[in-house]
């Protein structure tokens, strides 16, 4: 029997997780539409359909992410709280989670109960986000998975600014067109380091605490995780579906707070 549903509305994708009293029984990820409520509802419907159930009003749902407060059929909880709870459930030993999403990055420190003790976020510039990564892949003319493979073959990655996505793009263009051109492998690794430079600085501001785990769609990228581990000097924990961490946390909070009013 399902007990709770969590939905995380991101700028690029919306994620839903369905729980029974012990574990995840279904989940779905779909592209977000401009209508928040529609995205949330569709993601939940898809995840329920996978287990032969229908959406109905009155389900125990917590929503998080963009516009989650406007969703009429759920309660709302902050992204940081959901990420912390979800991360704690996936890796109880994690004391820091680095969430790399499509349009923002957040670093949270978590206590042993899965509560946030501090966080840093950057949401002012695309530098350091998944959208930036996609944009750079298009610019270089490779897919995201090809980009990932290229990063492992880099020899001498160039320094690329992490203060502004637009400036970073023009730097990448100049690397492509210079004579001799910087290799794609090195450019990709330079881009990864640029993204991570910003994220690592947030980690340092929050105070790095091991173990550290990575969440969000960007954490699916093995090259990024590899560079992040090298830069931090230790292994990073990555769950099987890192993009689901916040939705999972939302579902856990829904289960814990069942019966509370929206």
């Amino acid at each position: 029997m399902i007990t709770a549903i969590g939905v995380d509305i991101g700028s690029l994708t919306t994620k839903a997780v369905v729980l029974d009293d012990k574990k995840i029984v279904s989940w779905a990820v779909l592209r977000s539409s401009e209508k928040t409520e529609f995205s949330a509802r569709t993601a939940i419907e898809q995840s329920l359909q996978k287990i032969g159930l229908d959406f109905k009003i009155g389900l125990n749902i917590v929503a998080t992410g963009l516009g989650s407060k406007t969703v009429t059929f759920s309660r709302s909880k902050s992204l940081t709280a959901c990420l912390a709870r979800g991360s704690n459930s996936l890796f109880p030993q994690a004391r820091m989670a680095i969430d790399m999403g499509a349009e923002s990055s957040t670093v949270i420190r978590i206590n042993e109960r899965g509560r946030v003790t501090d966080w840093q976020s950057q949401d002012k510039c695309a530098a350091g986000t998944g959208i930036f990564l996609e944009q750079m892949a298009k610019l270089i003319g490779v897919s995201m998975s090809e980009m990932d493979e290229l990063s492992f073959q880099a020899k001498s990655p160039p320094e690329i600014t992490n203060t502004c996505a637009v400036f970073a793009e023009s730097e990448v263009i100049s690397h492509i067109h210079r004579v001799p051109a910087t290799s794609k492998e090195d450019i990709v690794a330079g881009i990864y380091r640029s993204i991570l430079g910003r994220i690592i600085s947030m980690c340092k501001r929050a105070g790095i605490q091991r173990e550290v785990m990575a969440t969000g769609g960007v954490a699916l990228n093995k090259g990024i995780i590899s560079v992040l581990s090298k830069e931090l000097g230790f292994e990073i924990l990555v769950p099987e579906n890192p993009q689901l961490a916040a939705a999972l946390g939302a579902a856990i909070i829904a289960r814990e707070t069942a019966g509370e009013k929206a």
Binding site: S78, T80, A81, R115, V116, T117, D118, W119, D123, G207
Partner: protein
């Protein structure tokens, strides 16, 4: 071009707000607050027709001297703040400031002020007075105002160190400024009046400290963001009867609240320390948000928490010099940040039993922002979480209200869960 029309709008707004004041624990002090604002800007508005001499001055400037010389003061930063608060025309003022060469990274109250003078929203002063207390923006912006308003000016060089030699140096600087003002305005310094002002400054300080002691109580009897009004007393009316009347009224109201146990402890869920100043244009929004989450700012070591001091009215000029070292802003933000200041902030958090601190990271104030990590680490070590919110005091285009609101909500949630 000088039209003064924006000053009359500020005066009008204050009158309307005062008339609309609702019954409540702070009704009388609120009325006095708006009456004082109205008095200040009416005097400025009518200065020309009354044959007054206007001196524009930057923040933390010893306006006691101006009052003693019967010169009409115009607090530059406060005036820009108030225009942001009451008139909501920041975009136009800031873009006018940009037209005279002040880039977006420069302190927005100074940008807005330059814009206000360029647009003729403020009367051009007869003189411009400025100092290096407390930052490079204040140290440099006076020259631009002189140029824009085609008026003479005086730069008051304030020493960093607090010792007898430096105080003597500052007293000499003040003497030079008095001579400058006497020459330009034709007004003579009234030393008896300055002594009276110093005597009232002692009273003002005692009242402020009394109010702060009342704010230590749990729950605090003061409004969630009432401290913003506290600032006005010294910024606009240092050592003036208006400041005393306001502070006395507020002190009495707080005492009444405590005596009558007129506070529900459950309404105060989060006792906060405020570091730096929240966006002025968001005052109403933040009031509602703080009320919703039971958040109350109980101490502001950078702005309202004065150290104890007693000034000697018979040595009036020296007292004015000494006072500049004990104002909270200069005590915490001026000169090198030493261990004593960090300890002072952490001790304040403990004394006022705060559960969390909010640092308003005003992007235009680089020297304050540079202290964020230091204060955060020190407070965290004492078990007090601190939120730093990137913002601008007067420019709403830097962060939408909702973005700041969401960060605060997350922080209140964090405090709830700890």
């Amino acid at each position: 071009m000088t039209t003064n029309n924006k000053l009359s709008s500020i005066v009008q707004s204050c009158r309307v707000i005062r008339k609309m004041s609702q019954p409540g624990p702070y009704q009388k002090s609120d009325e006095l607050y708006y009456q004082n604002l109205s008095t200040y800007y009416t005097r400025l508005l009518k200065a020309r027709e009354n044959g007054g001499f206007i001196a524009a001055h930057t923040v933390f400037f010893p306006a006691e001297i101006l009052y003693a010389m019967d010169i009409v003061p115009m607090h530059t930063e406060m005036t820009t703040w108030l225009m942001a608060l009451f008139l909501g025309e920041q975009a136009e003022l800031l873009s006018a400031g940009a037209e005279v060469g002040l880039a977006a990274e420069i302190c927005s109250p100074h940008r807005g002020l330059a814009g206000a003078f360029t647009r003729g929203y403020l009367p051009h002063p007869d003189v411009m007075l400025w100092s290096n207390l407390i930052c490079d923006n204040t140290a440099k912006s006076g020259e631009l105002v002189m140029k824009l308003c085609n008026c003479p000016g005086f730069f008051l060089d304030h020493p960093f160190q607090h010792n007898n030699e430096e105080v003597s140096y500052l007293v000499n600087e003040l003497k030079s400024m008095v001579r400058f003002l006497e020459e330009k305005s034709g007004h003579k310094m009234n030393w008896d009046k300055l002594s009276e002002i110093v005597a009232r400054t002692n009273q003002q300080l005692a009242l402020t400290n009394e109010i702060n002691e009342l704010r230590k109580l749990v729950p605090s009897p003061f409004a969630a963001q009432g401290f913003l009004k506290l600032l006005l007393a010294d910024y606009l009316f240092p050592g003036q009867p208006e400041a005393i009347a306001y502070l006395q009224q507020l002190r009495d109201e707080l005492k009444d609240i405590v005596r009558e146990k007129n506070l529900n402890p459950s309404l105060e869920k989060h006792r906060l320390m405020t570091l730096f100043i929240p966006p002025i244009y968001m005052t109403s929004y933040l009031d509602r948000l703080y009320l919703k989450y039971g958040a109350v700012s109980v101490v502001e070591p950078m702005f309202t928490k004065w150290t104890k001091a007693e000034f000697n009215p018979s040595q009036a000029l020296k007292s004015v010099a000494e006072k500049s070292y004990v104002i909270p802003e200069s005590h915490v933000m001026y000169g090198p940040l030493n261990e004593n200041v960090i300890k002072y902030v952490v001790d304040s958090a403990r004394d006022y039993q705060v559960q969390g601190a909010v640092f308003w990271a005003f992007l235009g104030c680089r020297h304050a922002c540079a202290t964020i990590k230091i204060f955060k680490d020190a407070l965290n070590e004492a078990g007090i979480p601190m939120l730093a919110v990137d913002c601008d005091i007067v420019d709403p285009t830097v962060n939408p209200e909702e973005e700041i609101g969401e960060k605060l909500e997350r922080f209140f949630e964090l405090l709830d869960e700890l």
